[in-house]
Symmetry: D3
């Protein structure tokens, strides 16, 4: 019988940067599109997230005036799309773990574009095998700490519970959770910055709570829903662009970030394009900031 599967499609490359086999070999950062959407959200469409972020990223200026650098010089290439596996979320998580693991093995920093949040579990599993002291920074409107949801322990509503079973997790931006999730946070003494944040040095505390090797998982709904409405489960009262950037800048100034994901964009219409571009810019600047840290470390080691 002939194979009837559709062949993997080459996604257009992030920021329009060439992504031939040689480019990928040379790159430090690998953008991995994972258009997986198979558990239930309110406003569907996260499967279109990676494509729309990458499409809009063609508009990016390569130079970034805040970092005063041409970030593309960090070495960025785009991997082929990780096709969804539809036999169940556990199979998909295993697929993501395998993919991300192979990029880590080749010495790359994975930059994962979702897709629904479930994929973060596969990414952290791969990271955790490689980095024993891993901790995770989780930016989100929701705690995602349920134990089970709609018949599975593996979904976007339970993903950070599964991740927290693997390694320490610190959270910021949280403003919607169940009482059981609140109790879980308290019982496990998790560092969670609810939003609006308390007065005082919460940002320093957040950074201090992380180990030296950090994976960052950014659910697009961490942003205020008035600022970034095109997500599966929007929440008002969240941080804006400068708030989120301040957190990321603080963490990337002090910690080694070995990968990150941006998930849960659910783009519709023209507003969806605007939100996709916003996340493209966030991804690009975060790559730049991680790269600057790595270069400084490199310099000080050889200095």
């Amino acid at each position: 019988m002939d194979c009837e599967e559709e062949s993997p499609q080459t996604a257009p490359a992030f920021a329009g940067l060439d992504s031939s086999a040689a480019d990928i070999e040379a790159a430090r950062f690998i953008v991995i599109p994972i258009p997986y959407e198979a558990t239930t959200e309110w406003l569907s469409g996260t499967r279109c997230g990676p494509d729309r972020i990458i499409q809009s990223s063609r508009l990016l200026e390569l130079y970034d005036h805040v970092l005063d650098a041409d970030i593309s010089k960090a070495g960025i290439a785009t991997a082929p799309v990780v096709e969804p596996v539809l036999s169940g979320p556990a199979d998909m998580v295993a697929e993501v773990k395998r993919e991300v693991g192979s990029w880590l093995h080749r010495g790359k920093t994975p930059v994962i574009l979702g897709g629904e949040h479930t994929i973060t579990l596969g990414a952290v599993q791969a990271m955790r095998e490689r980095y024993a002291s891993l901790s995770v920074l989780h930016l989100d409107a929701h705690a995602d700490l349920r134990d089970t949801y709609l018949g599975t322990r593996c979904s976007q509503a339970t993903v950070m519970r599964r991740v927290h079973e693997l390694c320490p997790v610190s959270q910021a931006g949280i403003r919607a959770l169940s009482l059981a999730e609140r109790r879980y946070i308290e019982e496990h003494h998790m560092v969670t910055v609810f939003w609006p944040p308390p007065d005082g040095a919460w940002l320093e505390g957040l950074v201090a709570s992380l180990s030296d090797t950090v994976y960052i998982s950014i659910d697009a709904d961490v942003f205020d829903s008035g600022f970034l409405p095109s997500v599966g489960t929007p929440e008002p009262g969240g941080p804006g662009w400068h708030d989120v950037w301040s957190i990321l800048r603080a963490v990337t100034s002090k910690k080694r970030v070995i990968g990150f994901d941006v998930v849960e964009l659910s783009p519709h219409g023209e507003v969806g394009d605007v939100c996709a571009y916003t996340l493209a810019r966030l991804v690009y600047r975060l790559i730049g900031s991680i790269h600057l840290y790595n270069e400084l470390q490199e310099a000080s080691r050889h200095g």
Copy 2:
């Protein structure tokens, strides 16, 4: 002749909370959907407001981390839809008065979802009959103090003028009004907080201007149009989520709120869903905050 009217439809229940006859009997707060839209706005669609707010409210977490409480325990049920009466706005206002009055008679706190602002007049008429010392807090971008509009004294542009003829009104968020409305405010020494608000203790002044028994009318366009665009007559330069919540928190900490409405949502597309959810969250938290006040009062009376 057979009756050809469509029969009243049961709306889905707010926050997915059961609303059988027994549930309604037991509830303290009654959510009343009034999808009335019959006078002219710019961007039509307010008739869809109640349905969309209630649909989106299924997504609410029952627990609210700001109040640190499961607000559903306050006792919330949803009444049948109040069907529009199309013979003219005065007839509809009379219908609303009758409906709201009957809920007051049964000892409930009405939570009215519009629909256009005109319905507030019927609600206040019912409230005023029951509470002699009533005052009204009016959050809106517009003063709504015209005397007549398009051939009627009873519309969304004149509604607060009619309300003010019944009882004291204090306003906040106002940023679009006619010169005649400005003069009316001055001549009647109304407390109106224009937006952006002045420096100083305007919030304390606003609270102090209200009597002890307060009805709150929230026109969704009080929010900045960049934050909540899906309204009939959006206005830039208004308060955001935390600003509006601060006002509501201040009032519900000091006053007995005996009912409120949220009107003029005009939801279109995915952005409309986001705005509907934002208002659902506002309604839910405001119920919680009113309930906490009532419980404290109860406790102190019996303490």
Copy 3:
């Protein structure tokens, strides 16, 4: 007290044809925008209908290849918008009757753009006063023959019942009605062409059922909902462009049409623009076809 009403706005002119006082004086056909929407439909927005039809009509070629004529030579001008009266539908119907009557008095053929169907009643009342032998051709997916609806005898669901109480009505395109409406049709021996039409000479029968002086009321939802979706209550299984045009051509070849309306367009987004243009083209060609009949009659009278 200063008048606070908004002043009437001049609508842009149909087909971009000049509409100064002198142009109106000279014109045979007067396009009258009536953006009234005050009773309840499913998909709201008919108040935007006249504006969108007129906006899109700027794109019309003045020459029409089917009639092989420059239709603008018929003499077409656009009247000021008839502002909604919001005190109730009966008041609005009276206003429409007054407006249409005054144009008839000046010897014009009214071309009414709605707005909801209710306005047809006012137009027919004015027509009926002037033309004793008037009959009405009603193209619609719905019979609109209810006796009362949501507390009023005067709405878009009852309008043709009220019209039929004034003069004979023949219908085509009908495919959604209540049992009571079906019985009304049978009891009153109305000529109603349900859709799909029966085999045989239904069109000849329809034309023959009309008196020599005809008013045409076209509810935009007469068109199949796959062809023209932007209406308040769309219905599948209706006639297409050529079907509707065939009916109109047949009637205008045999009867004197002394006015017509096109109502119930509810335009949203780009598809709404397409539907608006389709109706603009229908209006323009129908004017042309009426004008050709009038010219032929004129010629034969003087021949």
Copy 4:
């Protein structure tokens, strides 16, 4: 540990017909909403299909002029939503089989609203257990006869292959398929009416190919994409409203239909509402036509 699952939500009832436990007990037809969407389509959103069809069905006239009957008298009630199971498509199919089986056990005719096409497999499994001589009429633009797809043998692209392994399947409307699917049809001598259909008596042949007991599965994309665009994988060149109705009328005149589904509506915006209503009307009329057949059979048995 507290249960953290969301509780099942009561969907609004189809055609606004009461659906209390007693109503369900008395009904012959049970509308079952299954908002399952977990395998990949192009244009996502089928999870919203059942809700939008039911919402729009409130607009239906209970009387249908083509059947000249009040179809609601057939006895129609709406079941609770079948919540998605997210552990994988095979688990969901099992859940659907269980649900549908229990309704069959109670003597009801299931009317299933999807959701993605995958659910048809569970429905047919339940039907097949009860009716040994079952055959299936499949209306679709696509053959859905792939053997595997994206890692699973159980998806909307393979569903009719799985169904055909259980019982005979005849198809109509097909206009997009792979070469392997074409060969499968030929090798298995399936009766497939490609679209546009051939000249001659294809409809009689299609009806004749079915056994006396028929389940009908209607993928909404069987309709021409210009007529019904809001589906996951639209295809031009398909049948229109009257074509599809002719097929359904022919089958329901000769065969006992023991259940049917309408799947793959993916509604967006106002056009999505129009498409949802079109399918609501199709569902309602198909119920009526099945009921008329059943009554005639009943009459002849007792005649």
Copy 5:
């Protein structure tokens, strides 16, 4: 000074078919995306046409049941995007001529995706240099035969006048034109099939009017606006899918087609995706039909 131009972007390949340099070398048909939009339409957005057609073409089945062939075997590859030149339409036409000419020189059949209709002029200029006996089949709702428009002789409203100055043009689908255009057609004895077409053998006449070597220019608005609404200037009353295909089938059965374009798609929202896919399917099947003709000719030459 550094070059500040953005570098050309590689478009995703049509039908997902590999388009490396070697693939292009081997291909017979070259899909050329030209996202040029610089003169004024009503509903803007034709610059997004090529991208949306190609994106949607990933969904195509490679096998086509009407031609009973895997069309991809014809040899299809996608060229890099032809970037707009913004210094004026004449410069852009020259650029298109150069690009198309170079593909002709390499022995390819160009398949051009626009973008606005203006680009057809450059394509025909290149074709005309190579094929002395060229004629053009023009499918469109509009005649596009104006002499000048908004200050230029080179725009989408004048393009076929310029083309007709180069070689014979036959038209079909026309239903909107100016009186001057009508006269131009008559004076130049052009074969123009207005829509709806006359009774009789118009299709045979249309085919006979063409020379043996034909270029086809398809303006997407040739389709009825109810079937394909996402175009810059939609017109009702046009041909549907099977009508257009019948014309193309007739021409490709008798004539050697040496290139074609599909222009003026202006895609918005989900309906825009549906229209884009419809055109992708048309392009694919037209390639297949041209290829079958070429193979038959080849066979008969060598037979």
Copy 6:
């Protein structure tokens, strides 16, 4: 040969203020709609900007509570639309220069509504001829200082480079630019306030950098993309309503503003209406603020 050009269309008047020849003669401020869009943006649609701003401006209250004045008393009328010239951007710039120059000659303050940013060059050319000491305040997310772009030195990406070649330019809001543009700013010692702005007295510095006679060019994308998404190239992290107003207030308090433009609105759907209204309000209040300055100067001259 007959002229086939479409005749210029009269746009509806800004703020609904009468704009007869006499009104224009009497007015101090002339609103000039220039719906030109001919070079490439990401999200097209700027040609609809002027129309949508003017349509939404009908909703403006004539009284403004911040300035405590009826701004319409300043004398505002709307000029006919400046029709696009399509032979190339240089020709269009020349047309704009001619138009704006003629209004300056008549002693008016031009208020230009775009359309794409390219038109600013023509406006500044006309201003510069009249005011030798002109300087330009440029509010934008992008520097627009490229030297060439897509084959032309005259586009929305190069416009401020061309303007800066004519007179001094100060910028604010900038947050996306190329390295070459950054160097151009430094080499030419331009005053550019990047966003977020630095601590300190940047606003005073910005005002001080301008000469006494100022033209203001406002690209709508200067606003944060979360606040005003409907622009061609949105950028997050920008100023909000009060930020932009503060800059404009500061400049208009100290400088004579002799004209301004608001360009690059690209309105889609309901969100586009909201953004259009926001800009209408900005335009209206900026007119008011300029008028107050002029009156104060007048008063002090005559005082």
